[in-house]
Symmetry: C2
Subunit: 234 residues, 2 copies
DNA sequence: CTTTGTATGATAGCAATACTATTATTCAAG
DNA sequence: CTTGAATAATAGTATTGCTATCATACAAAG
């Protein structure tokens, strides 16, 4: 994996591009660690500034508030995952095989030990995204932020996987819904395995089980005779 | 539906049982409206107290903080939904038919116009749960709260649906994961349809489409030949 | 009919959070 | 050498989250 890959976002959840300065990169790097350590609720710009030996006011020059910073990190994560999946599937001709590989990459994103970007610890970022990403869109600002393009990276990723679903079964009626459900489940099952094990059957850190479960769902659905004719109810 | 049904929780996210006093019931009723109106982030006990003509200190006598209040409401919601599903499926002999009905009840919980409990507006509560419930378990306190029984209602509901899955196909390996994925998707797709439509294919307020999508998933998975033998990968 | 306890209201206050503003310093490009 | 951009240092404000104290109201127990 190349070290000079640059993940750029299609929107500005930031005030000043953090990738353009040293302080900006430090803010990103340390906010990931601090979010992982404290959780979003206890994370503050004051603590972040203290952790990086800077000041609150300086952090506020990059991000309006901690919510926008989280939106940035989550978008960055989806853009990165999209890149990873594209990279790891681009030479696989069979769409089924490509989908299978994509699911493995998605589930094992937190295990990737070959960092794409030097100053971002993707394994920690994965933990943060699993634990906190739902908070990005579950707010009263979701419509305004959607308009501002905050969710383009997730939408793009979701859409390209939906097209892959349609390659496997062009008659399936809910490709985007299936993909967004699968993406959410990929995080959710990891979280449940670790914190609420009775809500799942996969064991913590058994990434293959989670991938197996998700593949079962996706392939059962796209292969189901019923789903080729969505008129017929189950 | 009887008006004297009492939904009681198996844990104490509260300090004083809100169902035991008039003020307690007012707190519940108004917190649902205010959460719906402001969202969890902007909701405060000060605003709630003002809205019900009481004081902050009085609210704090019922709930330690707004997070615990939300945990209470979400648990109440799951206990209520469990009751609704049990009630609406108890005389259906065929497990497939029972699952189908259960999914309809889950998806249409927000449309129920026959209130179970007088002082709780279940339609508004449903909106609040769709928008905010993820915040209950996505915190650093999740393990402690799990120990304290905060998630028993969801777990119980999930388990009883998992048993239903096993009734349909006793060989399926991931019944709890399938159910928790389906329950999450039921909320998520409604939310996406309304706020992030490109992440789904179902249209806002088309509850039948969402139910159709979820039934497709559940029945495709439990009927899939592959899933009877989880050794074979997709 | 008093006493006692329980629930609530009224008011105050405090530490932390979420910002904003002002000025000073550094440092690199013109 | 000057200018301007980025950052640091410091201060300050409104709101939030929460606790404490005291007064009142009212119902049950003696």
């Amino acid at each position: 994996m190349a070290a000079n890959i640059h993940i750029s976002l299609k929107h500005q959840s930031y005030l000043r591009d953090p990738e353009s300065t040293e302080l900006g990169k430090t803010i990103i790097a340390q906010s990931i660690n601090l979010l992982d350590e404290l959780g979003f609720e206890d994370f503050t710009f004051r603590k972040l500034a203290a952790a990086i030996g800077s000041t609150e006011a300086s952090v506020y020059r990059y991000f309006e508030n901690k919510h926008k910073l989280l939106a940035y990190l989550v978008s960055w994560y989806w853009a990165w995952l999209d890149y990873l999946v594209t990279f790891q599937t681009h030479n696989i001709p069979d769409p089924r095989e490509r989908m299978s590989r994509a699911i493995e990459v998605i589930v094992k994103a937190g295990q990737n030990d070959d960092p794409t970007i030097v100053y971002i610890d993707e394994r920690v970022l994965h933990r943060v995204v699993v634990a906190e990403s739902a908070k990005v869109h579950h707010t009263k600002e979701v419509d305004a932020e959607n308009k501002a393009g905050y969710f383009l990276e997730l939408k793009h990723f979701c859409h390209s996987l939906a097209l892959l679903i349609l390659e496997i079964n062009p008659a399936y009626s809910y490709p985007h819904a299936l993909v967004s459900t699968m993406l959410e489940a990929a995080h959710q099952q990891l979280f449940y395995a670790q914190h609420l094990p009775s809500l799942t059957d996969v064991k913590a850190d058994r990434y293959n089980e989670t991938a197996d479960f998700l593949k079962h769902i996706v392939f059962a659905v796209v292969d189901s005779k019923k789903h080729a004719n969505p008129e017929q109810n189950g």
